[in-house]
């Protein structure tokens, strides 16, 4: 049974940003002509003097953000995930990561659930790219409440942070902002003893749905909301590897370089475990509705169930 949908995580970002802007006068926001989509428009309306629309120029967006950070501002720079990470990557390398500037990168339209606009607007590699930047914190929050906490944590963290949000309404995982949220600390959203599903972003909802369906069939599934990909909660992964028969990693991202790769590195080093990967295989998607794409490219509840079954087979 599918969970009720909450607001899109990009919408939650827009709201959280206004609140953060009130609490932190040093927060400034930059966008590259997509403020109506990334939802930074809410901040622009509330604090016009602290908002910079640099136009359609993502390289400059990141460069200006890093310059602002050197003057003590806390810049949040936003655009679509694909444009910011691909066109701004060299600027992220030198101006943000290498210089260790206190810049927050919050992207929208992560993954393929954006739907009809198709491949050029979809981002299936942004998490891998973000993880390749030394000391960059990388978060992929699951729903509106998790996003709120991720943004609060991002502003309080000193150093570069990447947060991926999505276009589509996100299945509700929490009733309220999860208490005790911390960067690098997984949230156990369901206890279980047979198999562990480690998911983030839009896959946490389907993972919980899958766990419910499997419970009816007598299979006990633990579900972790691994909202932080870097630094990864190694302890939670190790516990899953030791206490359950295997791990399913579920993410709206290419199978190479995202959460799955991060989890596999930990198990390979600390406690080799059977792992199945629910992710986009070595391909781009296409235009269709988000739901159709999530189903076709293997990112829905039945795919998680099948992966759990493969581990138990």
């Amino acid at each position: 049974m599918a969970r009720p949908l909450g607001m899109a995580t990009r919408q939650a970002y827009g709201k959280a940003l206004v609140e953060v802007g009130k609490l932190y006068p040093n927060v400034v926001v930059l966008d590259a002509d997509l403020s109506k989509s990334t939802m930074t428009k809410d901040f622009a309306k509330a604090y016009p003097d602290r908002f910079f629309n640099v136009g359609i120029a993502e390289a400059n967006l990141v460069g200006v953000a890093s310059g602002l950070a050197t003057t003590g501002k806390i810049p949040f720079a936003s655009s679509f995930a694909c444009f910011l990470m691909c066109k701004g990557f060299d600027q992220l390398r030198l101006g943000v990561a290498y210089a260790e500037n206190n810049v927050k990168i919050v992207v929208s339209h992560g993954g393929i659930s954006i739907g009809e606009d198709g491949v050029s607007q979809m981002s299936v590699e942004d998490v891998a790219l973000a993880c390749e930047l030394p000391k960059m914190v990388v978060m992929v929050p699951s729903d509106e409440h998790c996003t709120y906490q991720a943004i609060r944590a991002a502003v309080e963290h000193k150093g570069p942070v990447f947060v991926r949000t999505g276009r589509a309404k996100a299945p509700l995982v929490y009733d309220a902002p999860p208490a005790g949220f911390a960067i690098g600390k997984a949230i156990t959203v369901r206890e279980g003893k047979d198999v562990t599903v480690i998911a983030n972003g839009m896959l946490v909802g389907p993972a919980l749905d899958a766990a419910e369906s499997l419970a009816e069939q007598g299979v006990s599934v633990r579900v972790l909301d691994m909202h932080t990909v870097k630094p990864l909660d190694e302890e939670a992964v190790l516990k899953a590897a030791k206490e359950t028969k295997g791990i399913v990693v579920a993410e709206e991202h290419l199978v190479h370089g995202g959460l799955g790769s991060a989890v596999a590195q930990v198990t390979a080093r600390l406690h080799p475990a059977r792992i199945e990967f629910v992710a986009i295989q070595d391909t781009y998607a296409e235009s269709a509705t988000g739901e159709e794409l999530m189903a076709k490219y293997g990112l829905s509840e039945p795919d998680v169930i099948a992966a759990v079954r493969r581990i138990l087979a």
Binding site: V28, D49, R50, F52, V54, G55, A57, A59, N60, V62, G63, V64, A65, S66, G67, L68, A69, T70, T71, G72, K73, P75, D90, Q91, R93, L94, G95, Y98, A99, E100
Partner: protein, 276 residues
């Protein structure tokens, strides 16, 4: 060696620039690699900035009221290190650690390694955007500090430079001052042959900048232009400084072999003799 002190006069600056050039030659000889041509062409501009025009405190590199400086064409950082040592950011002996293991003097500028370096550069095209961000941040705080950015003329082939140029004019950052080291060469050859960047002055004007067109080796003109660039005109200023690549060392001048080739012992001695 010139010590940092009261603003230097034009004749003093001319002498200082020569000393900085000597330091560059020694550093690159010692490092056995690096880029002499672009450091030598920018030497007079850098000398004027560090020894006269910029407000800065080498004893307190993070002084809030300081002007900011970015060497956007990061391969010319040796001339910046020479000026920093000359004004007392660090002991002059440290210059000879350039490009060596555990040195703070990285081959291209690293902000996290060396206090006083404001931006990590070396991937061409990024410095003006970073400078624009600094200019915006300083303006928000009501600061009267300026941001100086040295660009290479080959560097302006990078599209990001023009993204930043467009945005700086749009945001009216009059506290942002770019200096184009117009030495007419890039790695593969002359800018005329490889990628024609002309008409340079008209391009910047068209992007909404105030343009000052000068001889980048006339210390009088360099100082005058940098002082004039501080005037509040409601728009950013670019100084197009016509320079000679390798300036001051006869066999390096306009010989693009010395874009990225360090001098050997014999070359070093000849160069130092010419610069004495």
């Amino acid at each position: 060696m010139a010590q940092y002190g009261p603003p230097q006069t034009v004749p003093q600056l001319e002498k200082t620039a020569k000393e900085l050039r000597r330091d560059v030659i020694r550093m690159l000889y010692e490092a056995k690699s690096g880029h002499p041509g672009g450091s030598l062409s920018a030497a007079d501009i850098v000398a004027a900035l560090y020894f006269r025009v910029m407000r800065h405190d080498p004893q307190n590199p993070s002084w809030e009221k300081r002007d900011r400086f970015i060497m956007s064409k990061g391969h010319a950082v040796p001339i910046v290190y020479a000026a920093m040592a000359g004004t007392g950011y660090f002991p002059k002996e440290e210059l000879l650690t350039l490009r060596k293991l555990n040195s703070r003097l990285q081959g291209h500028p690293s902000a996290k390694d060396l206090p006083g370096i404001e931006a990590s550069t070396g991937s061409l095209g990024q410095g003006l955007s970073i400078g624009l961000g600094m200019a915006l941040g300083l303006r928000m705080d009501g600061s009267d500090s300026r941001v100086f950015v040295i660009l290479g003329d080959g560097e302006i082939e990078e599209g990001q430079v023009w993204e930043a140029a467009m945005a700086a004019a749009h945001f009216k950052t009059e506290n942002l001052i770019a200096i184009l080291d117009r030495n007419r060469y890039q790695l593969d050859g002359s800018t005329d042959e490889i990628m024609n960047v002309c008409p340079v002055v008209d391009k910047w004007k068209a992007f909404g900048w105030r343009v000052l067109d000068i001889d980048g080796h006339s210390m009088h003109q360099v100082v005058h232009a940098l002082e004039a660039a501080k005037e509040q005109t409601g728009r950013p200023t670019v100084i197009v400084a016509k320079t000679t690549k390798g300036k001051g060392v006869s066999f390096m001048e306009n010989d693009n072999e010395y874009h990225g080739k360090a001098p050997g012992k014999d070359e070093m001695e000849r160069a130092l003799a010419e610069l004495s």
